[in-house]
Symmetry: C2
Subunit: 466 residues, 2 copies
Amino acid sequence: MYEIMLNLDGDRKKCLYEQIYEYIRQEIRNGKIPCGERLLSTRMLAKQLDVSRSTAQMAYEQLMSEGYIEAVANSGYYVCQIQELYQLDQEPPVSEEKEEETGEYRYDFTPSGIDLDHFPYATWRKLSREVLQSDQRELFGLGDPKGEYPLRKVISTYLYQARGVNAKPAQIVIGAGNDYLQMLLSRMLGTEHRIAMESPGYRHAYDIFQSLGYDCCTVSMDRYGMDVKELRESGADIAYVMPSHQYPMGIVMPVRRRQELLQWAAVKEGRYIIEDDYDSEFRYIGKPIPSLQGSDTCHKVIYIGTFSKSITPSLRISYLVLPAELLDRYEQVGRSFSCTVSRTDQKMLQLFMERGYFERHLNKMRALYRNKHDALLAELRKMQGVKKILGERSGVHLLVQMADKRTEQELADCAKKAGVRVYSLSEYCLDQREHEPMMILGYAKIKEEEIYEAAKILSLCWEKER
Amino acid sequence: MYEIMLNLDGDRKKCLYEQIYEYIRQEIRNGKIPCGERLLSTRMLAKQLDVSRSTAQMAYEQLMSEGYIEAVANSGYYVCQIQELYQLDQEPPVSEEKEEETGEYRYDFTPSGIDLDHFPYATWRKLSREVLQSDQRELFGLGDPKGEYPLRKVISTYLYQARGVNAKPAQIVIGAGNDYLQMLLSRMLGTEHRIAMESPGYRHAYDIFQSLGYDCCTVSMDRYGMDVKELRESGADIAYVMPSHQYPMGIVMPVRRRQELLQWAAVKEGRYIIEDDYDSEFRYIGKPIPSLQGSDTCHKVIYIGTFSKSITPSLRISYLVLPAELLDRYEQVGRSFSCTVSRTDQKMLQLFMERGYFERHLNKMRALYRNKHDALLAELRKMQGVKKILGERSGVHLLVQMADKRTEQELADCAKKAGVRVYSLSEYCLDQREHEPMMILGYAKIKEEEIYEAAKILSLCWEKER
């Protein structure tokens, strides 16, 4: 019979039964109490420790429910057969995360990110207060896997009016970001496909498709966008394009090329076009370019849109517009995945759009980006040794080609020395094909006044070293 | 030379250049203006329509940028070669969504869902106001793919104290719900695995793994949980278990069975155990059962936890705790996927936990559920013809077995006739194995006072028909 040596501490936060439970548990775990050993009866234990019997009983109950001891009728409590418990209390060898390095740049022309100085914080707060009223209780249950109907409805209207997209709410699937939607899409399409992407192109989408197990190939572009002849030869059955504003080249795909692309998809069963319409809201001259999906009569275009550029990436709300023939696949394999966007966020976005805040916000941002666009463009045109400027009129970045023979690396390096971060086109090349050296300057995040200063520094250092 | 017949409407909202652009665009799309046709010069067009030349210019600019017409130097504007444009303006054949049917039940003992009457709406509003202050601007950029460090830190502390989980923040990956995390996990593990699940078990996880392309098999349970001998024979290399509180059987896996399971995983390279710890916060007698992960010295346990039960499913926040050897895989294929939870929601949850709101909320809900648990249990014990009651002490549902030979369907049907919805164990059986007929009664969503009424109705109709 095992004797218990425990001094209970009445002052400790842990109640008495927990102290007893933990002591015995530890004794069993380090093998101090052998398996099969009989324990004191609760009456004896209570007597010996001078606690109430119910306290002893509770300690044994917990030990039983965790399987350390078992009660044998008309006999008592015994330690269960448990092997190799002594080695249980180690820590896994995981190194802690390292601090992120701080930027050594004074100015950063990053092409990603958005201008956050003008996010409608007050409106958003107001909406969140309204949405979080407790009479909105139903919002806190689990919602429609596709996303809430009222939000899909207002997105459908917006897409029709602003983008010429024909999308019934039933075709829209809301998800937490493009990466997730690509993941979801891979469930519907299967991964036994070759995906053709433009190069230079959107590396992140390329990486995601690769991690999803797709065979990704690149197709070169002429001034009209993806080369359809090369696409045919590529053996790909899915084409990923950005017809309204190719990233990063800024090419707008003309109607004829769109027709050729749609034809390519139409002639063969199982072919699809993924239209990534990531920033078409920002066009500074003329009307927005209509979507490719709007001209798709064969239900071959999978449209993917996001609020990351138009509102904020932290919102994590994107959406798919599925063609009719993929809706069945969604019902079969997609519907089981619960929606990844919280219903309160969905409700806030719905109200933000329904009440015209979104349109006003877009107009404000368009004007804001246009000013930055004009400022940067003017500065670059003044700059000596600039041979070509691409990507005007829309989006939030420009491409610059210098007349001299310096490599992108050399241009980036001397800009870095001067404290200005610029990006090279090579970073967006998804294959080893030759391309003319070009620098990419994004203007969404940088302040307008900074554009002037940064551009002056650039022209100085880029001219100095010629 | 093509003549333009357009009556401009000065009152219309659309500005003049848009009217001209749309008219010519439509004429080209309907084939009224043949390809290759030369258009009027902007000067002539302006003259003929009595508009300024810049207006005409803008209309042509838009037509050019969309690829309908092209400018030929020293010659003029020509319609581009475009085939089959006339058939472009159709609608895809997508039927609209049908309204959801309304419930025909007075009382619903659903085992899913939570009690939303006691969600801390006021606190949540307060935190959201605080988080949405514009000086929190950095929150609106794109964040860490794993989820924000401060949130992972507070979760790590919580897991250690409340669940005995050894998780450094670096091991934690935050995602929008379990479905998404299973999806992400499938990227790290690959889908070339057989996953063993307990039956009866959590059907939704089973369905998700199947849609992800896994070969899922079922393994039966004895009173200690998954049968490890059967698991060995199943050929599975991944075991999905709920050791703290098996769903729906409510089994607590004793230490010995846990050891056998860990041993099974340890002896062979590439084997893993997925521990779904979905509702262990709710235990009404004694202390919470420690996690399996806490006893895992071989880094074989993938722990998955959620705030859907403990706070609300609409929050869409769950997390993985990855064992050391899977962290490299995450870096290779997982890190590219941006986090699916908005940073503001992450920040709110972080503050909710750091400031003790979470603990208080858990205590409140535990007391609340315990009262419902006790009420339902008492009613069922009073009920005549009840042979067995399972699943006491924790979770938010109970299982009832009647003494007579009625099928689950019969019991459910006569309950339905009386306006009470109960669930049958068969719905949770993932294979065709025989099982004793049992009814599942969840008590999270139903109000306490309703439990008494609903239970009385049940005993009446279940006794009446014996």
